[in-house]
């Protein structure tokens, strides 16, 4: 069964802390994505990656960075967490080649920044 896992379901951090959110997929997918989900705003793409060591900015990259050192792992980094980054973070992966390959999602990490 396909699986995308995220390192934490719930996380509480303080303003100014550096935060790492980890995502691992076991489907050998080339593409990986980070979204944030906020009420009334749906899912917004932060960053995505088509291959190891490659990254592309999504719609809201400000305040975030990413790392993809291995194919199966995609990390989202908040360099200096702020309260407006309190949100649900969803990781997804998909295979490459055609436009309509579905994205598989992890369970999400609910981050609270105090």
């Amino acid at each position: 069964d396909v699986k995308v896992t995220q390192s934490s379901r719930y996380l509480v951090k303080r303003t100014g802390e550096k935060v790492f959110l980890e995502c691992v997929q076991d489907m050998d997918h080339e593409n990986m994505f980070w979204y944030r989900q906020d009420p009334g705003l749906g899912l917004r793409l932060i960053y995505f990656s088509y291959d190891v060591k490659m990254k592309e900015k999504g719609d809201i990259p400000e305040g975030y960075s990413v790392s993809r050192e291995k194919k199966e792992r995609f990390s989202l980094i908040l360099e200096s967490a702020s309260t407006n980054q309190t949100s649900m973070y969803l990781c997804a992966s998909s295979s490459t080649g055609v436009a309509y390959n579905e994205q598989f999602f992890g369970p999400g990490t609910r981050l609270t920044v105090l």
Binding site: V4, N31, F33, Y35, G40, L41, G42, L43, L45, F48, E56, G58, L90, A92, S94, T96, A99, Y100, N101, E102, Q103, F104, F105, G106, P107, G108
Partner: protein, 112 residues
């Protein structure tokens, strides 16, 4: 630019009643369209997808959706709703660069 609109923020239906969730998209070329469901505290699960061909698409859990190019719509339907269908539903279109564009979601409440 590609985008998706889900006009209904929240819908309440009685168990056993029929359901229709609306989705309108904006995309210049042939759209690839998806419906996902998110149960409370969970990630998103694919319900169904449309690429081409038959405009009526069957999905999991008894859901179906109809693609109407003339109306730029991809509405999700279910003939008889179950209490376990209470969740948030997202419509998405794939745009340039294989990027998914999601709607803002419709929250479904099912009354016993």
């Amino acid at each position: 630019a590609q985008s998706v609109t889900q006009p209904d923020i929240h819908i309440t239906v009685s168990e056993g009643a029929s359901l229709e969730l609306r989705c309108n998209y904006s995309y210049g070329a042939t759209p690839y369209l998806f419906w996902y469901v998110q149960s409370p505290g969970q990630g998103l699960q694919l319900l169904l997808k449309y690429f081409s061909g038959d405009t009526l698409v069957q999905g999991i859990k008894g859901f179906e959706a109809e693609f109407k190019r003339s109306q730029s719509s991809f509405n999700l339907r279910k003939p008889s709703v179950h209490w376990s269908d209470a969740a948030e539903y997202f419509c998405a279109v794939v745009g340039r660069g294989n990027q998914f564009y999601f709607g803002t979601g419709t929250s479904l409440t099912v009354i016993p």
